[in-house]
Assembly symmetry: C2
Homo-oligomer: 182 residues x 2
DNA sequence: CTGCACTATGTCTGAAGTGACATAGTTGAT
DNA sequence: ATCAACTATGTCACTTCAGACATAGTGCAG
């Protein structure tokens, strides 16, 4: 009954022991590119994982009102995670506000729509440049079995996504007339 | 304070008057490709839109315990919708289970991962074929200002997405070795 | 020595969303 | 005639999630 968020946490823990705080940091980057969660959600989920014996922790002295808890995967947790990885993902409903706006774009002024897409294009190009820098830091794909393979493969996905998205923005801008209204 | 779902409903109503049931059908296809909602959510949201005077309805006799309600946009609703279309979309957190699995894929057997990606690839290719058939039904992009422009532009986005995704799946399968384990 | 950013854990409220339950007339096939 | 599928509206319980609130020690800069 572990939720997808639970598996996201297990996936972080598979790379090394972490506190809840550290996991929350990983949920911003690099996991944040494909799964996000606030720290409130993470602490609650860690308690559930604890109850299910998929993780354990050692309390250590640290700052804050409570001791800090360094979490680790149990053997059971590792087995659950390995099983989950190759189970077909359940498809989630798509929710893309920009595409929804596009569906209704015929109601608006072409100039305003073009500006919105120009902004989106700029954002995609910035992210693309960032991902390309990250890719350059790799020396080709790491071998499967290396945790860095996960990082590289997801980066490849992000790269492809940003390219597709940028191209679509360019197509939209083209459709909206070249140099008139603004 | 209208939610994105509210605007999705207004976008449907901008194309013609509908009952809640009809809106729910549109939320499966074609809107469902980029925004989904169950009928329970839709009926609740229609009541809110009603209270905010963005839609109105006429009750007509129809099947079922209550009269059917044919909803229409008010002038106020149409203005709200037009204003929303060109406001920059607020970015939602990405949540992609397949990419999350990929991040943890180094833990699993390559053969099982390859099979999962082969299944995904098949699904993307099927959707791609469907979208290409739909695109062929258009005689090039309709003019901006025509509601059909919205359908065509979102279809273009879907086409690009499926191609990017299929390509990534093929890359993954390549990485996982060509003809050994199964 | 003051104040800020960071580490660190947790609770609570409310919104958004999913799926089941409830009800009932119309239409078409067998 | 009967049965299933479709039209049609709505409620309820539950889960997920985001953001605010609460608390408090450490380490560094000015």
């Amino acid at each position: 009954m572990t939720s997808t968020l639970g598996f996201a946490i297990l996936a972080v823990l598979a790379r090394g022991d972490r506190t809840g705080y550290d996991i929350a940091a990983a949920m911003r980057r690099p996991i944040g590119f494909f799964w996000t969660a606030g720290h409130s959600q993470i602490h609650a989920e860690l308690q559930k994982l604890r109850t299910a014996c998929l993780v354990g922790y050692e309390a250590r002295h640290g700052p804050g009102p409570q001791d800090k808890k360094v979490y680790h995967l149990t053997d059971e947790g590792a087995a659950e995670l390995r099983g989950w990885v190759t189970r077909p993902p359940k498809e989630r409903p798509e929710r893309d506000e920009l595409v929804l706006k596009t569906y209704a774009a015929w109601l608006a002024e072409a100039g305003l729509v073009r500006r919105m897409f120009a902004d989106q294009l700029a954002a995609h190009e910035a992210r693309l440049a960032e991902y390309e820098r990250e890719e350059a830091a790799f020396d080709g794909p790491p071998p499967f079995g290396d945790p860095r393979f996960g990082n590289y493969a997801t980066l490849r996905c992000g790269l492809g996504y940003e390219r597709h998205r940028a191209e679509w923005c360019r197509w939209m801008i083209d459709q909206l007339g070249d140099s008139d209204s603004l």
